[in-house]
């Protein structure tokens, strides 16, 4: 059974005045139907660009190259804009980070929800409205039919994000990409939205790609994760595997930064990773993490440090052996 989404060797380049910005470098992963894959990393690591690359929503001027990019056995790498437009919203949906500005202020919620369905299916306005009401209730919005007549500015951030989720589901897509869906929301709302995402995913049997920088979110919702650094994937695996035995020094550093309730920190400093992320502009050889890694050696500057696969889906990008990795901090 082929995976829902397969990505191999994805590259996204942005030509700038100062040089070429390699936002995404040789990224590969796959997504099965019904599973949640999380792309994790700090700001600027290329996770959002990866998501946009799949929907072909990259900023103008960006160049996308991929060895393989298939979705539901359709080749997306060379798909024309009209074909992509037919897929967007209908088979693959995306939810963004800023609910406050993601809806058109000049049209009602109902209008924008119905539009999501009407552009893809020949259904009557009434049917579209019914589906909108159905989905609004599914995402936990009460008095759904009266909400349809409201404008975005009349709703709170949490409500707007629920509307965005409902809008993504209007056509019953097979895959949903959520780009930091809770980052802009209050902490109390975050948990609700995450639980909502998990439940609709289960109910509608969709594949979900969850992009976040928050490992707590990953632990709660994801099945598998891919850690990204400086545009490259540095570690993949199931949540259990990676959290219990993180291999790559960057992943280990991230885990080290999180205070664990119960574990005594008395006398110990909270972990941090020294140094700065190298610039993504220009060519990069060798491991991008080596200037911050306590275990870096001469060979780390060499080329061709590929992903070492320990078992299907479990891989990491480092010259050290797994035992040596685990012998370090954390």
């Amino acid at each position: 059974m082929s995976p829902l989404l397969e990505v191999r060797g994805l590259n996204v380049d942005l030509p700038l005045a100062a040089g070429v910005l390699h936002a995404v470098r040789e990224v590969s992963f796959s997504l099965e139907k019904g599973e949640t894959l999380s792309l994790v990393g700090e700001s600027g690591c290329g996770k959002s660009m990866t998501a946009l690359a799949m929907m072909d929503l990259l900023p103008p001027g960006a160049v996308r190259r991929a060895e393989r990019l298939t979705f539901e056995d359709r080749d997306l790498a060379k798909a024309a804009e009209s074909k992509m437009a037919a897929l967007r919203g209908a088979r693959m949906a995306m939810i963004f980070q800023e609910p406050m500005t993601s809806l058109d202020p000049c049209y009602t919620i109902g209008n924008q929800l119905e539009e999501a369905l009407l552009v893809h299916r020949r259904v009557s306005r009434r049917e579209a409205r019914n589906r909108a009401v159905f989905l609004l209730e599914k995402v936990g919005i009460t008095a759904a039919s009266s909400r349809l007549k409201q404008y975005p500015h009349q709703l709170s951030g949490g409500l707007r994000q629920r509307v965005m989720i409902a809008m993504g589901l209007m056509c019953g897509p097979a895959m949903i990409i959520a780009d930091e869906p809770t980052t802009a929301l209050d902490v109390t709302i975050q948990a609700q939205i995450l639980a909502l995402l998990a439940s609709v995913q289960k109910e509608f049997e969709m594949g979900m790609i969850l992009i976040t920088h928050d490992l707590g979110v990953v632990a709660r919702v994801a099945d598998r994760l891919a850690v990204m650094y400086c545009g490259m994937v540095v570690e993949t695996g199931t949540v259990k595997e990676v959290f219990e035995r993180p291999l790559h020094p960057y992943t280990r550093g991230l885990m080290d930064c999180i205070p664990v309730p119960g574990k005594s920190l008395k006398g110990r400093k909270l972990g941090s990773i020294p140094g700065m992320v190298p610039t993504p502009i220009g060519e990069l050889t060798g491991c991008p993490f080596r200037n911050r890694c306590s275990r870096a050696r001469g060979e780390c500057a060499g080329s061709g440090i590929g992903l070492k696969e320990l078992s299907p889906g479990r891989a990491y990008r480092c010259l050290l052996s797994p035992q040596d990795c685990l012998a370090g901090r954390v």
Binding site: G275, M276, P278, T279, R290, N291, R292
Partner: protein, 306 residues
């Protein structure tokens, strides 16, 4: 990997790479030289200023001297043209090229002084409105609305008709009418800056109000002011041309380009050069000023580019 250390300022970020920053002055200089509009506008402006300053030296004839034996000679590119009068002569035999050069003086003089008067009035109003807010702001906004509601050209014509046309009258009347853009821009700029942190800091340190206005706010407003000023010079020049064209501006025989068009109007069907030459001159000068003003805006604040 060795990075070129080109200018001062920068830091090391690992992997042997270094990021260096140019100074703000260098950035501005680079932008200025790259901006075609700014360069063209600047060149035009300088050329016109030179023509105005040295009009006496470069004019082949006295612009006021009439010579009825030499009237209505067409410019050099037409059949009967002569190099004695490269741009021809008008209905009273006055050399057009010389009138063109002296017209530079008139246009620039009027444009500049009108702009200065408008600048003073508008800046004072705008600054006080933006800084003090509240009732002062309401009063000034009201004044601005009144000024905008007045049909400016009409009122200018009426006043000039009653007092009598002359350069002085035109300058004062126009200057007192076109301060609105200065006031509006200065008001909004002051409002923006007033709410910024460093003004609060100055206040907290006990600086008095005029001190704050002069030392903290003015330098940042100068950008906007210069941009508006260049654009308003163009506007003043066009307004004076319109007034003179209607006979309500400077009086003949002053070589105002607008007046030249008006005088040439009755002959324009057979000798269109009488109106095309001063018209093109006006167009080029105002175009240059506008390009300069737009260029200044782009160069000093490219984020605000419209």
């Amino acid at each position: 990997m060795e990075a070129e250390k080109v200018r001062e300022g920068g830091f090391e970020i690992g992997l042997g790479l270094e990021v260096v920053f140019p100074t703000p002055g260098q950035i501005m200089q680079r932008r200025m030289l790259a901006h075609k509009g700014f360069l063209i506008g600047g060149v035009v402006f300088i050329l016109v200023v030179l023509m105005a300053l040295f009009a006496a030296q470069i004019s082949p004839h006295d612009p006021y001297r009439q010579d009825l034996a030499q009237r209505m000679i067409p410019p050099i590119w037409q059949a009967e043209g002569t190099w004695n009068h490269p741009l021809g002569t008008d209905s009273l035999g006055r050399d057009y090229l010389s009138r063109l050069f002296y017209g530079c003086r008139i246009s620039l003089l009027i444009g500049f002084t009108c702009m200065l008067i408008a600048l003073v009035i508008g800046t004072v109003l705008g600054l006080t409105a933006g800084y003090f807010g509240g009732k002062v702001d309401l009063a000034v906004s009201f004044l601005i609305t009144v000024r905008l509601a007045l049909p400016a050209v009409l009122v200018a014509i009426a006043v000039v008709a009653l007092i009598g046309g002359s350069m002085k009258v035109v300058i004062i009347v126009l200057g007192c009418l076109i301060w609105d853009r200065f006031a509006v821009v200065l008001r909004s700029s002051t409002q923006q800056i007033r709410s910024m942190d460093y003004v609060s800091a100055a206040k907290a340190a006990g600086c008095s109000v005029p001190w704050i206005m002069i030392r903290e706010i003015m330098p940042n407003l100068l950008n906007n002011l210069v941009v508006v000023a260049t654009l308003e010079i163009g506007r003043a020049i066009l307004l004076e041309a319109a007034l003179s064209f209607l006979g309500m501006g400077v009086m003949p025989p002053t070589p105002s380009w607008g007046l030249m068009i008006s005088e040439g109007k009755e002959f324009m069907l057979f000798d269109p050069y009488l109106i095309t030459i001063p018209g093109v001159a006006l167009f080029i000068l105002v175009l240059g000023m506008n390009l300069l003003g737009d260029g200044l805006r782009d160069v000093t604040a490219p984020e605000g580019r419209t």
